[in-house]
């Protein structure tokens, strides 16, 4: 083992036996002796990586890709079927919090039990007891039985024990969701300070923001293989890109299925009751038919006399996408149809940040000074030459108004776009970018 490394994983493979017909009972085992067949499901197909001492590494990937299995093998709970894993120093895993807690015993006593399961001597707990209690913020309740705790208090106590263990290697599985916001921040800061003190950290998380902030390196596991290892920022953003593309592809398939269903209804293939059901679903999901890019929280309102038939978002290269860099151009192409002959219309676009801060909005009438004469069918393009919003997620609302306050069609949160700062370190904070400069004058 390289002395610089805290963890070395070499060509590790792991499969689970999935019993097609599992019987734990003797009777079942005997009767179905011949049927005790199982499938080998390969979870890890040979992964290798190193973690240097003091480094923090994030394991990312989709559900079921093998991240947690990897972590469990690092803790020695599971054993690899092939390959080797070596670790140096004391390993502490924050996988299961509150293991061995006895509900009828006091918080203080449970600290000792819980700590001993992590392999910590009672003497050591004596020394750290005050730190643990202070960190958990449960001073007033520490001598009450744990069963009287709220679930948040319970988790806080458990987390405090786990994090106050002097470990050389800390393994964390998706547990930074402990307690309220303030406590979460505290945990996160504690992890950071542990990292600064030289603790090696391996973390499995779907909260990529946390991984980016805490980790030096990210390992992206896909279908049991390592797809990419590199700086956390880079790997995370690449991972997000791919996930977004997959989501769009999936949405496209769902959209096609919906259309097929709608066609079946039109063809009258299904009976009446079924037809109604399908129609209801088509109506409620009708915004979906506008674009497969549509956001998960979209809502449609309006009279429907004039309505969108298709909406797409493009970048400057003409690709359909929802990811943009700051200063990129953004194009929204809207197609509509109208039941009203010769009516006038006004199109509006609004941007709202993910935390519901309204950021920007405009209408065609305000900008051009004219209403748009609506034909039976038509197409309107909205173009932003340079996006000045800072990196975050934004929702786009789209509307067709008449000349007054009447709304023909309105889709809230039609798109959920992500604006990314291509630079490593953002230079601004807030909502928008402004052209500005600094001059020092003598």
């Amino acid at each position: 083992m390289n002395p610089e490394n805290a963890i070395e994983v070499r060509d590790v493979r792991k499969y689970f036996k999935v019993y097609l017909d599992k019987g734990h009972m003797l009777r079942e085992r005997v009767i179905h002796f011949s049927r005790n067949k199982y499938e080998k499901r390969e979870v890890l197909k040979g992964i290798s990586f190193d973690v240097k001492k003091g480094e923090s590494v994030g394991l990312i990937g989709k559900n079921g890709c093998g991240k947690s299995t990897t972590l469990k093998m690092l803790t020695k709970i599971l054993r690899p079927n092939a390959g080797t894993i070596e670790t140096k120093g004391r390993v502490c895993s924050l996988i299961e919090l509150g293991a061995g807690f006895h509900p009828d015993m006091s918080g203080r006593e449970n600290i000792y039990i819980n700590a001993s399961i992590f392999g910590i001597k009672a003497k050591e707990v004596d020394r750290r007891l005050n730190d643990i209690i202070r960190f958990s913020e449960l001073e007033d309740f520490i001598d009450n039985p744990v069963r009287t705790y709220s679930s948040g208090m319970y988790m806080r106590l458990a987390f405090s024990v786990a994090i106050n263990v002097d470990a050389d290697i800390l393994l964390i599985d998706e547990i930074l969701a402990v307690g309220d916001n303030a406590f979460q921040t505290k945990c996160f800061n504690k992890l950071k300070s542990l990292k600064d003190q030289g603790t090696t950290i391996v973390i499995v998380s779907h909260a990529l923001g946390q991984v980016e902030k805490l980790c030096d390196k990210a390992v992206w596991i896909e279908k049991g293989l390592i797809r990419k290892i590199g700086p956390a920022r880079k790997v995370c953003s690449e991972y997000l890109d791919v996930m977004e593309k997959e989501r769009i592809a999936r949405a496209e398939v769902e959209y096609r299925m919906l259309m097929e269903e709608a066609n079946t209804v039109a063809a009258g293939a299904a009976d009446e009751e079924e037809q109604e059901k399908i129609q209801a679903r088509v109506r409620s999901g009708s915004y979906r038919t506008l674009s497969f890019q549509c956001g998960p929280d979209a809502r449609r309102e309006g009279s429907g006399e004039v309505r969108f038939t298709s909406i797409n978002v493009y970048n400057s290269r003409g690709d359909k996408t929802l990811d943009f860099n700051i200063n990129d151009s953004l194009i929204i192409e809207m197609e509509y149809e109208s039941d009203l002959d010769g009516a006038l219309g006004n199109f509006s676009v609004n941007f709202t940040r993910s935390d519901w801060v309204y950021c920007y909005g405009t209408t065609s009438k305000l900008q051009t000074g004219e209403f748009i004469p609506l034909g039976k069918k038509g197409r309107v393009r909205f173009e932003i030459d340079a996006l000045k919003l800072l990196a975050d997620k934004y929702y786009i609302d789209l509307r067709i108004h008449g000349t007054g306050k009447d709304v023909y069609d309105c889709i809230f949160s039609m798109f959920e776009i992500r604006i990314i700062n291509p630079e490593d370190e953002p230079k601004e904070s807030g909502i928008v970018m402004m052209d500005c400069s600094w001059k020092v004058e003598e």
């Binding site: 036996k17 085992r29 293991a99 015993m105 039990i113 009672a122």
Partner: protein, 258 residues
Amino acid sequence: MVQRMKEIYEYRDMIYSLVRRELRGRYQKSVLGMLWTFINPFFQILIYTLVFTLIFPSSIENYYIYLMTGIIPWTFFSEALGQGAGSIVGNADMTKKIYFPREVLTISSVTAKFVNMLLGFIVIFIFLIFSPVGISAHILFLPVIFIAEYMIALGFTLMFASITVYLRDMEYIVNVLLMAWIWGTPIMYDISLVPAPLQKILLLNPMTSVIVSYHDLLYYHALPGVLTVIMLYVVGLVLLLLGETVFVRLEGNFAEEL
């Protein structure tokens, strides 16, 4: 194996706190609390005494003393096996999520029962003092038998606990086995009353020698035979090694099976 023993020893604090949890946690909510550890054997003995002096008088003199010196150690053995068999399955959550030597769970379970037995012996002593049988210096020799019985019980339990993970019936099989086992051990009767050929079979049961030794020390005020004690330790060690070997062989897949 030595490496493994060392590791288990490293986790002695965990064993300590799990035993404590089981002993204290069990009666935590009750009014009498830990006192129940004494009340239970006390009433157990009292009831046997009443039944066997008033209802079924036995040919054995001071039969209730004879009985209690056997039944308390037997209760330890039977609870250790009966409940210890489920010690891994019952702690599935911990086993699946945290690393520690798995034996710790079984050892803690058996040790908690063992401590209960030791407390039960205090009750036995009290009864002995007030009975015509009396108490003698032979009790100083008791720890030798305690340790032997502990080893035998732990050996069996390690085996059963690890098998139970793969075959849940084991837990119930063990309990049926124990039901028969109690009659295959001279607790309620004296071994000399058993026909000679059957006696040999009974002696194959390691618990026979254990109970006979307790009787010798407490009831007959005699030292058990040297050979018996040596045999007990040989059997104890063999069972312990066998139990541990089976456990280690099966332990690898615990987290997946549970």
